[in-house]
Symmetry: C2
Subunit: 306 residues, 2 copies
């Protein structure tokens, strides 16, 4: 039942000697999503001894280099290791041209199929779902077209109460419909209400990723009441003018979004290389939103069941 975010890169624009450009690995029930893929992502994954072939979905927020320049290297390595399983990329439409040009000029082909889904529009859109989760994109406001992502668990079927199933001696072939909400009718025509033999599943969890954006009110509804919000905090608010002119956020902006959207916890990232000690950003955010952490390289953040 794991829902966990691993930070691979926390640096904005230019890397530092310890901070890499944006990238995060998200494990939702064994499905692995990569959110952005800055230069060095595959190296970070190697350092964590993570098997890159597990990655199935790659979400690229926008085409500034610090958010995608690790993508070609990652795909090439997957191919050199003879991957066969398809990879799905959700990204601005230009990504296909970039990949095509590289593979043409390097006279190489991938060993697996790429499924490229271009991101579109600014409203909340479901871009993927399976039986257990849903992935959404929504528009951010940056200097170039840029999208945020929200990953949500689906509500799971009700759980069986083992002792009740035994008590009423319910046959195995009926359990699926009972999990879906059916009552049980005994051989004596007694109706056993579903609530007596099942319990509600846990509340679905959610994670939102806002890579590069200026503060805007419209973002609140997109990330409303998520369990964990990653929000960029490139600058301290004493550089709010610079944040505005570059379409970035301050740590205070990020905390304000978290507060207004009533999220459970906040992760700050995309730090300007000017900050050697990131506590200046953390402490500022804490003044208005207490449950906040720094998205430092190698850190892992579990989203627990409620």
């Amino acid at each position: 039942m794991l829902f966990e975010v691993t930070i691979l890169g926390s640096s904005s624009a230019t890397p530092t000697s310890t901070r890499y450009p944006s990238a995060q690995l998200v494990n939702l029930l064994g499905r692995f999503f990569l959110f952005d893929c800055g230069e060095g992502t595959q190296i970070q994954l190697r350092k964590l001894s993570f098997k890159i072939q597990k990655i199935q979905f790659i979400c690229i927020s926008h085409l500034h280099g610090d958010h995608y320049l690790g993508l070609i290297g990652l795909l090439s390595t997957m191919s050199l290791l003879n991957r066969k399983k398809e990879v799905t990329i959700f990204a601005p439409k230009g990504i296909a041209k970039i990949l095509d040009l590289h593979f043409k000029l390097s006279y190489s082909e991938l060993s697996f199929k790429l499924n490229i889904i271009p991101l579109q529009g600014s409203s909340m859109k479901r871009i993927f779902e399976d039986e257990s989760c849903e992935l959404f994109s929504f528009g951010l406001k940056h200097r170039i077209p840029c999208w945020g992502f929200k990953l949500k668990e689906k509500k799971r079927p009700r759980g069986l109460i083992k002792s009740a199933i035994e008590k009423y001696n319910i046959p195995f072939h009926l359990l699926k419909s009972i999990k879906s909400g059916s009552d049980y009718i005994t051989p004596d025509k007694e109706v056993i209400k579903n609530q007596i033999i099942t319990m509600d599943s846990s509340i679905p969890r959610s994670y939102a990723y806002c890579s590069d954006t200026i503060y805007f009110d419209g973002i609140i509804e997109h990330v409303f009441e998520v369990d964990m919000l990653y929000h960029e905090a490139t600058f301290h608010s004493n550089l709010s003018k610079r944040a505005r002119s570059t379409f970035h956020s301050t740590s205070l902006d990020a905390a304000m979004v978290a507060k207004k959207a009533n999220v459970k916890s906040l992760l700050l990232g995309h730090f300007s290389s000017r900050y050697k000690d990131l506590n200046i950003l953390l402490n500022e955010a804490k003044t208005i939103f207490p449950n906040v952490n720094l998205a430092i390289e190698g850190s892992k953040w579990k989203i627990n069941k409620k």
Copy 2:
């Protein structure tokens, strides 16, 4: 009088947790050349606390990703740090298309001028010179068009013998022509031969870089008698079949080139990620060429005056 090679990446194809893709920084008398620029090059330079704005020339051997995917990130960082000085790139002609597409799709412009010189032909060609050095390209044999590079000092003027200059009381304004080989004629019309008042300058040094290539006899003349030869050694000779089919070299091939070309020293690199302990490659090369070293990340190799 420094001529020094710093290794930034030694890995072939895929990086490992400790080895980066190909990149080397070469300092020749304060001119900084980057030979290849694999993913993570700017991060490696940061770790070495090297000021990236010092780099003036970037040589890209070919367009396989492990040799150039760090280029866009490096140029972007130079620009974000507001570089004004031109950068010259020697690379296969496709590089211009790759850079154009990225900067178009990221809606960004560099703060400095890029001077892109496309590599051409397989013969030895001088592609750059100034008063102190010359840079040459020559064709390698790989799966895609690929070039090696040779960097040579120019012969410096003869040096003045200070004690002789004082003994004959030679006026300052004549020293330049004396350095160029003129004799000195005293006020009494006595001819002082140039050899008496000057000494020969040291023999020019040279470095050759052979990134990705299968063994071929034609390479010998290109790297003949260089002081230091970097030659790829992707495989041990027990995988020579694989080396041939992928157009790569074994450690024995690299040593054979060094021996036949009568070079002074050999650096091995571009190691397959299958080799955890690289001594298997080093020891094999030593069986036919003794003065050989491993181009490990962070290692520095001085080319001393002769």
